[in-house]
């Protein structure tokens, strides 16, 4: 009994002393807490007069407490000012990063233009360059009018760009007990509440991605596409088709919510757009190439394909490097920032991009060398681009080994695909756009579901599901399901939309030029001016073309 009393007393005493000590520490902490009063004692290392007198070559005095924005000069520097400045700096860093990367992606336009123009014949060069030139203006305007709103109208909140709170309109349909977010409803004409600094940055960045999609289509339809039909087709792609899939994948649409609604990993994950940009572009290219038909002289009567060499490989290889450079804006820029929410992964993303490109070009080079005896420059270029396309979706989620493997597969895939499209469905693709962007875009989307390693961390969650994106090889088969649903949507719905739209354009405007115009070269009939008026253009001497030309001429006369 006595020991029990002693024990109770001892326990109570220990508790009491620790409580007292705790209070004492709290009081001490309160006594040393920072207040606005303390901030007044911080002074800059040198006064403005001193700096004016001696200059500051060693940056000893530039950038100090004097440069923190003070909201009320009477109150002086406050804690609120410090906190606000820190927040604004993060947003400023992210704005600069996103904008610079957006400018680099815009620079991919000349890259695409050069690659395509180098791979077609000189008599069509003016027309091809002009198509690639106008995708910029036409696409931009279509996107400004309604595309951006449809894609990003409901994307808020976007932490890295300051919230983008005005973009809070998304049209959701309930079906079979699940919500299906279909398209955005805010941001038309960047008017009203969308007149917002963050929204402007997002618009520019998303617009240059849309431009990449539209310029892919010009490649597969080059040398026989009517310019008027191209203009109408591009406007439809930039205003409706691309923004719809963009909304489903990136604008908080139903594909991105597959994780939240169906437990499929983190929903459809597409870091920089293998699916959204390249697969959409490649599948539209496929639809257009099918509707327009092959070039005169490409296939013989028995269906065997003829080679139609391009006119300037220097342009092709130069364009490829310009694209590879621009891709450094495409992938790393898709963090939408360099500060906060895992944005410091930009270096890793850039390295993944490089690696995939180089392994893909290597495997394409090897394939062509071993198969045909000599390395083929245009296929090596296609290989590099295929690797870049394939890494676009997984770039933020994989490690360098995964990136290398993805690139290696992409190189072989594009070579096999080019041969396949020439020989089996007999679809004429002068630059390989369907193989590089369509097929490898789909491979990139699937690769996320396989190779995402779960070591990335973008603010602790992605697409509304906590944790980091993991693929099949790292333990999450649900992610692969979500990616495959994305592929099925691309192939089933997006292809259908593109096909129907281009079918309509064919009925109303007519997609293909006349045989006479095609044989003469589109430069004069469509554009009114030769691209190379100072040079004598060579007559074609490739096997098969003579029988085609006589047949085409007799057809054009009728």
């Amino acid at each position: 009994m006595k020991s029990l009393k002693m024990k109770t007393f001892l326990i109570l005493a220990i508790l009491g002393v620790s409580a007292l000590m705790g209070f004492a520490t709290l009081a001490k902490a309160e006594g040393t807490a920072l207040t606005d009063q303390d901030l007044t004692s911080i002074s800059a290392p040198a006064s403005t007069d001193e700096i004016a007198a001696k200059g500051d070559p060693g940056a000893d005095f530039t950038g100090n407490v004097r440069d923190v924005t003070v909201s009320d000069s009477k109150k002086g520097l406050t804690l609120a000012d410090l906190a606000n400045q820190a927040g604004q700096n993060k947003i400023a860093i992210n704005f600069v990063w996103t904008l610079i990367c957006g400018f680099m992606v815009m620079f991919m336009q000349p890259g695409f233009a050069l690659v395509e123009t180098g791979l077609i014949r000189a008599k069509n060069a003016n027309h091809t360059m002009m198509m690639n030139f106008m995708v910029y203006s036409l696409g931009l305007f279509a996107y400004y009018v309604c595309g951006f709103a449809i894609q990003m109208g409901g994307v808020a909140p976007v932490a890295n760009l300051g919230g983008l709170y005005p973009l809070n309109g998304e049209h959701v349909v309930n079906f079979l007990g699940k919500p299906w977010a279909l398209f955005g409803t805010k941001g038309f004409f960047l008017h009203g509440t969308s007149y917002d600094v963050g929204v402007m940055v997002m618009f520019l960045f998303q617009m240059v991605f849309m431009d990449t999609t539209t310029t892919i289509v010009t490649g597969s339809c080059a040398e026989r596409w009517k310019y008027s039909a191209f203009c109408v087709s591009t406007i439809g792609l930039g205003a409706i088709i691309y923004p719809l899939f963009g909304n489903w994948a990136w604008g908080c649409g139903w594909l991105s919510q597959l994780g939240v609604n169906f437990g499929l990993g983190h929903g459809y994950c597409d870091f920089a757009g293998s699916g959204v940009v390249h697969a959409v572009g490649g599948l539209t290219a496929l639809a257009c190439a099918m509707i327009i038909g092959p070039r005169i002289g490409k296939f013989n009567r028995d269906g065997s394909p003829n080679a139609i060499p391009g006119h300037d490989l220097v342009l092709v290889l130069l364009g490829c490097f310009i694209l590879a450079f621009g891709w450094f804006g495409f992938n790393p820029g898709s963090t939408l920032g360099a500060s906060g929410n895992g944005a410091l992964r930009i270096g890793s993303i850039a390295v993944n991009t490089m690696l995939a490109g180089c392994t893909a070009s290597f495997s394409a080079l090897l394939y062509m060398w071993i198969r045909y005896g000599k390395p083929d420059a245009s296929m090596t270029v296609n290989g590099l681009l295929a690797g870049l396309v394939a890494i676009t979706a997984p770039s933020g989620f994989v490690n360098p080994i995964g990136a290398s493997v993805i690139g290696w597969v992409a190189g072989f895939l594009v070579c096999l695909s080019v041969e396949f499209f020439d020989r089996v469905p007999k679809i004429d693709d002068p630059v390989g756009a369907i193989s590089v962007h369509g097929i490898n875009g789909i491979w990139g989307v699937i690769a996320v579901g396989l190779f995402a390693d779960g070591r990335s961390n973008y603010g602790g969650s992605w697409n509304g599901v906590n944790g980091s994106v993991k693929g099949l090889f790292y333990g999450d088969p649900g992610q692969l399901v979500a990616q495959l649903i994305g592929v099925a949507t691309l192939v089933g719905i997006i292809f259908t939309m593109s096909f129907l739209w281009n079918w309509l354009v064919d009925l109303i405007v007519g997609q293909r030029t006349s045989a006479k115009a095609e044989l003469a070269g589109l430069d004069i009939p469509e554009m009114g001016a030769l691209c190379y008026p100072d040079f004598q253009l060579k007559a074609q001497d490739y096997a098969g073309s003579s029988s085609q030309t006589s047949k085409a001429e007799s057809l054009s006369k009728s």
């Binding site: 080679a307 045909y372 083929d376």
Partner: protein, 137 residues
């Protein structure tokens, strides 16, 4: 002045153009040669004091077959081989030595050395001065 078979003396009627020197014969020698031989053949012609030639880039084939190449997985045949065509117009008496010199320089004993053609030239004129005939060469 001529004396005919019965001893009559008279002036012959010679048409103006027959009297003048320009009716000396000229020939055009057309040589189709390998492009890499152009430099050495030009030097050869120079040594023969042949002044003036026209050079054109042409494509063609004789018995030399074309080449099969591959492009993006498809086969194609380059049937026409690049050649150089040299046209020189020379007086009749120089034709033989020009042909001998050019063929000697251009011969590599391989298929594809080329051909030399000789055609008649009715007349020639130097545009600057109006000279006609061999003085135009």
């Amino acid at each position: 002045m001529i004396i005919d078979e019965i001893g009559r003396i008279g002036e012959t009627y010679t048409p103006e153009y027959l009297n003048r020197e320009e009716i000396t014969q000229m020939k055009m020698v057309t040589c189709i040669i390998r492009p890499e031989k152009l430099e050495s053949i030009t030097n050869t012609l120079d040594k023969l004091h042949i002044v003036g030639m026209t050079v054109t880039d042409v494509r063609g084939f004789g018995r030399q077959k074309g080449q099969v190449e591959h492009y993006r997985g498809g086969e194609y045949t380059i049937r026409f081989i690049p050649k150089v065509r040299i046209d020189v117009v020379v007086p009749d008496e120089d034709v033989k030595k020009v042909i001998e010199a050019v063929s000697r320089t251009a011969r590599t004993e391989n298929v594809g050395d080329g051909k030399i053609f000789v055609t008649n030239v009715e007349n020639a004129m130097r545009i600057r001065t109006g000279e006609v005939g061999t003085s135009a060469l």
